[in-house]
Symmetry: C2
């Protein structure tokens, strides 16, 4: 369709003001209201600006990581665990052992890739989801601190994911391991499985991809519909596009290991998807779920009312978060084979 | 939260202009673009106005029915079938026999309740979804032309649903019948199951509720987020609230047989939900799905990219519609017992 034709069929949506819904738990209402207030104050991720130099990137990354680090002590108090810093195949990982660890299930293991647009939330800011997944499943989790831009664009993250996976798979059945990640971590989980298909190695027993970043080209409809609606990843504007370009590098955002929606999901293990109705990556999630179903993969889609991108990690005190991780834990226990 | 507190936590969403997404099929792109153009021209369901007299209601209903009737010949050509007008227990029904009818499956039957806000899309405008469900499943469908306002508010629709159900259940196992409906028809499907629990009678073998209207109070978050985004049911404004009040009558919109979200889904049969990311009833759907999962019911959630309310019925030439009804047919064949 040419530009003139397209403009005739643009849907005009008037400005609106969203109240905090009463259809979610009090904890989730607090999370939504807090984010709305922060947005009013001009906080959150920048939309119409992006860093252009490595020092600018690092300043933004430090600012974003500070938010994850700020809530870490509260999360650690609610979900007791130990975290052991290790190296596996030369990659930094944190081995999370939850207080709920069930020795009877020690034949199963989770492998976790953190989110953060492939640019942020590494290091000590990377383990929140791994702690929650470990807690609710009673399993250990290996949280992979993969290399990131600005120094290490694609394929460093996929290379690190593959290196850790191979080392773990040398010691236990691939089907005994579940791979979990949210946002970029969900995309990286899918990219790892695509890469394993490419090299002809055994796939994980199951995947849990939360609101996965599957299309870095920005084509997903929810980037429009949930722009300035999502409380966590408010806008896929200049900053989102810059993150995508910085990560993809010369490979480009259409490479299937960068944007797994362009890959072939045939033969994938059972996969559970988690998202919310306010999620800016709702469409990235739904499109990947539909592509898996079309490829004959066992897939389960979990959508939560009024939930923003990855909010089940940050609103970890909410019943919605407990439901999300309980569903993920049940999915792993149904499909992993120790 | 008081009004002052609430206003501090309103999320301001600037006006936006939604392009037709490239992430859906050409047929779905055409559907979305056509609706966007109609919205630009001021067409569609009124938002800020509502009828106040019976003649005004009938005029609006006739106008809305005309849209369903206009596409009926095309639907009938694409999905050949016979439609026999009958009375069951004094209620008008249409028995749909698809050209795909499979005599080997004649022990199974679908019971269909049409959508239209409990006020419109009755009569000859009522059978589109039944034809599609019959086509894709190879089963007959009994499409129930239940009584509606302005003459017959709640509980007439539930009474008619129950009367037809009882007559059919006298002749075959309840578990051999699947109940299907979209929007108000999805709500009525859930209300029938709640009513059957109340009177202690056998439940259907499975339910397929498409974008069901489960909360007529208007509390769902998608009523805000997808307002003026959905191409079919654009706005739960004055007109939506008036439909809800007209249907509920003195029972009120919080009655669980009017708004099934306030009912108890424990013991419900397996249920498949269908919705889309632009659906104004996305939250009504997601909330009912979550309530069923919380009640231990086998439930499956199907969400389609950029799809508006009930668009899988109207864009019946799209691959997305075929996927939606193929999923529904597979679900019925997995769970109905002849």
């Amino acid at each position: 369709m040419d530009d003139a034709g397209q403009s005739l069929t643009q849907r005009a949506v008037p400005a609106k003001s969203l109240r905090t819904p009463t259809t979610v738990s009090p904890q989730m209402q607090r999370s939504i209201a807090t984010m709305a207030a922060a947005a009013s104050a001009g906080g959150g991720m920048p939309a119409d600006w992006s860093p252009s130099t490595a020092p600018e990137w690092k300043a933004v990354i430090a600012q974003m990581d500070a938010q994850a680090l700020a809530i870490k002590p509260v999360l650690e108090a609610m979900f007791p665990h130990t975290s052991e810093l290790r190296q596996i195949a030369g990659v930094t990982v944190r081995e999370i052992t939850p207080a709920t660890f069930d020795p009877a299930k020690s034949g199963l293991l989770l492998v976790h890739f953190h989110g953060g647009g492939y640019t942020m939330n590494g290091g000590e800011a990377s383990t929140g989801e791994a702690v929650l997944a470990a807690h609710y499943s009673g399993l250990k989790a290996i949280s992979v601190d993969y290399r990131m831009p600005p120094e290490h664009p694609f394929p460093a993250a996929v290379d690190d994911a593959l290196a850790v996976w191979r080392a773990l798979a040398a010691e236990r059945p691939a089907t005994s391991m579940g791979v979990i990640g949210t946002s970029a971590g969900g995309g990286l989980s899918l990219a790892l499985a695509l890469k394993l298909k490419e090299v002809g190695e055994a796939l994980p027993g199951a995947l849990a991809t939360g609101t996965p970043w599957t299309d870095l080209t920005g084509a997903s409809d929810s980037y429009q519909v949930n722009a300035d609606v999502d409380g966590i990843f408010s806008n896929f504007g200049a900053f989102g596009r810059a993150m995508a370009a910085l990560y993809a590098g010369p490979a480009g955002v259409e490479h299937p290991l960068v944007s797994p929606i362009f890959g072939d999901f045939g033969g994938f293990p059972p996969t559970i998807f988690t998202t919310g109705t306010r999620d800016i990556l709702l469409s990235d999630t739904v499109r990947a779920y539909r592509a898996m179903r079309a490829a004959g993969v066992t897939a389960q889609l979990e959508v939560h009312e009024a939930m923003s991108h990855a909010e089940y990690i940050y609103a970890f005190d909410s019943p919605e978060s407990a439901v999300a991780f309980t569903d993920i834990a049940a999915f792993f226990h149904a499909h992993l084979k120790g």
